[in-house]
Structure formats: C-alpha cells, structure tokens
Amino acid sequence: MKRRSFNGSALAAAALAATGRRAFAQGQAFNWRAHDGQTVNLMFNNHPWSQAMRELAGDFTALTGIRARMEIFNEEQFRARLTTLMQGRSSDLDAYMTLTSREGAIFHRAGWYADLAPMLADRALTAPDYNYEDFGASIREASTFGRQVVAVPINQEGPLFYWRKDVFERLGIAEPRTLEDLLTAAETIKAREPSQGVWAARGIRSVVPYALAGFVFNMGGSFALPDGKPGLAQPNTVRGLELYAKLLRDYGPPGALNHTFTQVTELLGQGRIAMTHESSNEFANITRFPNRAQDLGVKVLPPGRESGISKPVAIGWTIAISAHSRRQQAAWLFLQWATSRDVQGKLVRAGVAPPRASVFEGPEFNAWASEMPIRRAWANALIELGRTGTGVYQTPTDRIPEARDLIGGVIQQIVQGRATPLDAARAADTELAKLQ
C-alpha cells in the first residue's frame, strides 16, 4: 500500500515537472535546474499572493529542484522580523516581499536590496521568455532606484469604493457619480434607515493615508505644494481631509479611529455598513460572505464634482533578493518563476491582480472575470487603477512611514474635534517639513 502511494506521488511529481517544463517550453534552452538541490529561504507578508504561493511552491521545486522554504507573517510582525534580520546582515534570508513605494528608498539606501539589473541582463541567468517589459513602465519604475532594479512586481492593488447596491436601490439612491454624492448618500441612508450602518474606513493613523489620498486627489488637492514643500493646508486638500473625516465621524461606526482593513472588511462582509473605501485585495475576502458577491458594487472612488479629477492610489507588492543572501542566483530563479506569465495566470483565481499586461489582458483572466458581474467590475476598477493611479500619497520624503503617520494624525484630530481641518493641516505641514 505504501509502495503504491509512493509510486503515485512519484508519478504526480513527474507529471508536475513535465507540466512545468511544458509551460516554460519557450525557454527550453534555459537551464532551470542550475541550482538543483539548493534551498532558498523566503519571507512573505500574509497576503493572498503569499498564501497562493504556498500552494504552488511544489511546482517550483518540480521545475528547478530547489526547495522553497516560506515564512509568512502578519504585516507588522513581518516588518519587525525583516528589519531585524537585515540590520543583523543575516545571510539566512534569500528573498522577501517589499512594498517599494513605502520602504524602497530607505531599504535601498541601507543596501538591503540585491541589484537585479545585472541578472536581468544576463542570458544565462534569465529565461528568454521572462519578458520584464511585460510589466507596465510605471510599475517597473517604482522598483528602480537609479540604475538598480531592486525588486520585481507580484501584484497591483489600491483602495476601491465598495457599496451595497441593494441598499441604494431600496432607498432610491442613485449610484454615486461624484465624491460629494457619497455624503448625500450617507445622509439619506442615515435618515431613512437608521438601523443600517452607513460608512466605515481606516482610522488608525498610519494606515489612513492609503484610503484618504483618493479623497484629497479627487477634490483637486495634493499633499505637496508645486515646490515640493508640504501642502496639506491647501484649500482643496483641506476639503478632501474634511470629507474623509466627516464621513468617519458622522456616519462611521463607534471606535472608527481604531479601525483598519480587518474591521472594515468584517463590517462590510456582515452587511453592517453600506459603503466603504477599502483595498482591492479584500475583494475575495468580502465576496466570501453570504450575498455580498450579488449585492455589492465596486469601482474606483468617484471623481470630485468640481475638479472632475479621479486619481486613485495604486501600489504593488514586489519581491526582492536580500543583498546579504549567499544564494542569490537560486533566489533569482524563484523570482522569475513566481512572476512568470504562467504563474501569474494561476494566481488570478486567488484574487491576486496580475501586474503583467499580458496576463491582465489574457484569456484566463477574462474568463475568470466574466463568470460574475462583480468580478468584471473589480477587474475594470483594477485596469483603471493601473491607468490613472499613483503610488505617491504623502509629501516628498524618504521617511514615508513617518509622513503617513502625521497625515493620518490630521484625520484623527478632526474626527476627535481637537482641531479644525485647516489648523490640523497647518500643524501637520510644520511637522512634515521636518521630515524633508
């Protein structure tokens, strides 16, 4: 019995290896088994991408003979462990997920990224069909510092506007076409159906800017003046800050300032709120709740009424090789495989929006999106994110986490009534200037 089971496993592994090889048939001349028998240590943030990677890791081993050991941590713990290992110049870690739009400048300056540019240029190290240019130019630029390519993209994401179509229909509210319509809809829901929760969004200061930035940009505002100095006190920026804070204060749940995606997603999934502005990554999680796949609408945040501007936040996680790794070439094989067209096509079903244009426009993604109207809406919203989005949503500085913390603090002060929007913005501008 044991022998039969072993034979079955062996056959399955052989079949898997064959499938893997077929998938990379175009790159037959390329030697995927150059580092057969090695083990690469990988550290990932807990994310739909990394969970899907865990399921697919066997395919990588079958193709290359390399064992991929994955550690997955919640984002806060992930950063704590990653920075400690990197500060300790640990060679145990070979590759890790990184949000280059957030920490890229600091990590690059600290020398924590291996340079991928020479590997990309080396035909012996990079599969001929890898096609790095398949990633959009803006996505590639976000992970390029000077001439150094520090990481390759694994997904694209951004905050999207989710709303309960059934609640809107029941109360005779039209689909919001402008940012100001959100406030009108909130007023109507609260007045006509007091038992229905209205709005929820991120309130913890460090994570507020991700959801807030769309409000600022769409109102015609910006976080910086034309000369690059902090510009939160500009009139249109203040209007954006004010609207975000007002929705949270007057229509948000109790304790909203302690909320992040975990609470917001639960509230929307449970049907306890009618609207939110939350990450595209949460789509799969939200639609897992009963009825949400049928009664939700999703799109990018509507443009400002007067400005007509729609400028969403669009970021993407990437994967980098540690500068201290002793197995950089084996790790590079993992990066190539994980970001290949074939693997990204498979990840779509796990709710991971692919950063490769060929996958996004490909038949697999379209077939998946066509199965349900809400998937199509989500896919369209992601296309728009890629087209019009920006990954810069703070004043210019290398100390991005601190800057975002200060911007989030403005919202907290307004919601708590400790300062007027203008006063809070002016005070934050003074502090933000110190980070430049």
Binding site: Q51, N74, T84, G88, F261, E282, N285
Partner: protein, 271 residues
C-alpha cells in the same frame, strides 16, 4: 437582617459582574472557534449555530500548527527547567546570605523591553550558528523564567528555618544534599508555583520567538498571527488557535490552583 441580605445580594452582583467581564471573552473565543469564519464577527453574535470543525482543519490541516504547538512546548518546558536549574540554587544563596542585589539585577533584566536584547542577540547567536534552533529560544526565554523563579521562590527560602540547614550541616550533609534533600522538599509548593508561572510566561512570550525562531521552530503564539492579513484574515482559525494556545496553561492552572493560590500568598505576611 434585611441589611445582611442586601449586602449578600450586592456581593453576588459584584461577583456576577466580575465573572461576566472575565468569562465572556473566553466563552466568545471558544464558541467562535467552532463557527464558520464569516460568522465569527456577526452582530448580534449568534449563540445558536451549527458548529463546525473547519477552523481546526485549517489550523492543523492546511497549517502546521501541531508542529508549532510542539515547538512552544519544547521551548516553554526547556526554559522553565533552565530557569529552575539556575534560579533555585541562586535563590537559596540569595536568601541564605541575605543579598538582594542579584535578585534585583534579574528583575531589571525582566523589566527591560525585549527589543533591547533583540539585535545584539541576533548578531551573537547568528555568529554561533544558533539562530532558528530550539536552544536559542530556550536560552533567551530564560530571561523571562529566571526572574520569575527567583522572585517567587525567595519568600519560600526565607521561610526555611536556618536551624534546619544547620542541623543537616552538623549531621555531615554535603551542600548539594542539603539543597536537594532538606531545603527543596520544604519549598516544593513554591517550586511548583514558579514552574507553572514560568511555563505560562514563556509559552505566551512572542517577541524573541518572532525574530530568533526559524521556519521549523516557529512557536504557536507567533504562528497564530499568520491568520491576520490584508485580504486573508481568518478570524475563525485565529480563534481556534487561541483556544489551542490557551489550553495548556489553563489545564495546568486548574490542576494546581489550590497550591497556586497558597503559593502566591506565601511570604505576603511574615510572622
């Protein structure tokens, strides 16, 4: 008479309030571990539901939580034994010679934030090739268990009559015999209490294991955080993990609760 009844009623109400505050979150966690993941945060909470084991399947089937729990067990037992091996003789010496500074020094080490130790330890243990091993976690968790052992045992050792030790010395007992055959049996209730408290503190300690453990040695408390993440939060599995993590300390505490209460109060009043 009426007054006495009213006071008794007030007592019961107070007890009920305390019970609700203490027991409700535990009961909520326990029930949630058996709910489908989308029902955990349902409002109002559902008391009657069809229980499911899907969260435990996620925990032990899709994740290697059993392995993580075994790691926790190895580290907590190892660091408790190490704490006792070093702490019990040290406490005897501290008590016998009436020196308080060594005990105070261990307390300072315990009061210092864990982050203070992390980077030096990482560099030190990396150079020794120990990072990712059970040994490194046992050694570092001794920083937690050693002060607990010393401070719990100190009143017990102080309570041992000096004449008892002197009689053993006169009878020709060696130092180790005095300690193991005369003193330790007398302070055994304290050793039990110190062991339980050390085990619980080490079992629940998060930071050192987060940085110094490896893939194969990740402890349960660190692994439990993996059920939270953007797009992948699974409250059901997290609640199931919380139940599994809470069980060993809970069982230990229930088993020795009488001794624990007596032990914690020992030395509070000296006559």
């Amino acid at each position: 008479m009426v007054m006495r009844r009213l006071l008794r009623l007030a007592d019961r109400i107070q007890l009920l309030i305390v019970l609700v505050i203490l027991v409700l979150p535990i009961a909520w966690t326990f029930l949630s571990a058996f709910k489908p993941r989308t029902e955990v945060a349902a409002f109002p909470p559902r008391l009657f539901f069809t229980p499911t084991l899907e969260n435990f399947v996620e925990l032990f089937g899709r994740n290697d939580f059993l392995h993580n729990t075994l790691n926790s067990l190895i580290v907590a037992c190892g660091s408790t034994l190490l704490g006792l091996a070093l702490g019990a003789p040290a406490t005897f010496a501290i008590s016998w010679h009436r020196m308080s500074w060594p005990a105070t020094a261990t307390l300072f080490a315990r009061m210092a934030p864990g982050t203070l130790f992390l980077l030096p330890w990482l560099l030190m243990f990396s150079a020794a090739g120990l990072v990712g091993s059970h040994l490194v976690l046992i050694l570092t968790h001794a920083v937690i268990t050693l002060p607990v052992v010393i401070w719990v045992l100190l009143p017990y050792f102080d309570g041992v009559p000096r004449e008892l030790v002197e009689s053993a010395q006169i009878d020709g007992a060696r130092q180790d015999q005095i300690l193991t055959r005369v003193v330790f049996p007398v302070v055994m209730p304290g050793i039990v209490v110190a062991s339980i408290l050390s085990f619980v503190f080490s079992w629940n300690y998060f930071l050192f294991a987060l940085v110094l453990s490896g893939i194969e040695t990740k402890t349960a408390i660190v692994a439990s955080f993996n059920f939270i993440g953007e797009g992948v939060t699974n409250w059901g599995a997290l609640m199931a993990a919380a139940v599994v993590i809470a069980l060993p300390p809970l069982i230990l505490t229930l088993l020795i609760q009488r001794r624990l209460v007596g032990g914690l109060a020992a030395g509070a009043v000296k006559g």
